[in-house]
Symmetry: C2
Subunit: 140 residues, 2 copies
């Protein structure tokens, strides 16, 4: 199996609130393929999708019930500690929930966490050991 990914789909319980977060708090633009109850965002070579959690479970033919920690996190790495501080400050000003304020991490970086309205965790970090290209993708 090729070592790549195409789409991350987040199951949402309230599409309007979730879409508002990604479009108006993070400032992302939805992709033209979005329709009905699915919203796509074009990221760096992959897409992030929002889809009703009941429908997502049904599509995968698994029970939709679930609670507590979802067992995964998403991360966006920035290019300096200053960028992390600035982004967290900007997001806080828009009412985004900051779960963990930026702090030095044991692995040598600088890390913080925000949460979307569905409880999905985004780490906003700077990692000096992980170089990014000019578009922000991981070089590798």
């Amino acid at each position: 199996m090729e070592q790549r990914l195409t789409i991350i789909t987040l199951g949402v319980s309230n599409m309007d609130v979730a879409a508002d977060f990604y479009e108006n708090k993070l400032g992302w633009k939805r992709h033209g393929n979005s329709m009905g109850d699915i919203v796509f965002f074009q990221l760096n070579g992959i897409q992030l999708a929002l889809y009703p959690v009941q429908e997502l479970a049904k599509d995968a033919t698994v029970p939709a019930d679930g609670e507590g920690f979802k067992g995964f996190t998403l991360a966006q790495n920035l290019r300096s500690e200053k960028e992390v501080d600035e982004l967290i400050s900007t997001l806080k000003g828009k009412g985004v929930k900051v779960v963990k304020e930026p702090e030095k991490a044991f692995w040598g970086g600088y890390s913080s966490y925000i949460q979307d309205p569905e409880g999905n965790l985004w780490e906003i970090a700077y990692n000096p050991h992980l170089p990014l290209d000019e578009k922000g993708s991981v070089i590798g």
Copy 2:
């Protein structure tokens, strides 16, 4: 906030089994930054990480308890229905759990689901509406 992602981290309860799945069932190579209890895989401009679920929750300062549907799926799109059939057949031969056999999808594509040992769902699909570049990234 830039419209991009750097890392998806999956919290795992059994690192040996999870790493074996990605390395020996899917055939992926771990990234050189892997160390101790974290394993990285370089994908198309992003990385997938495996990290103990308790540590992941602790890092994000949230409770680690969780059960049932994790509320997200990952997807890898291939270039034809035939490729989907072939990959599912190959993975099945390696003992990978196929949750949903390939079938025509209502949105015009062809879709199946497999599950990693931690219960994470991977959709293996063909979507004629979502063109991929030669490296398999979404053109956008």
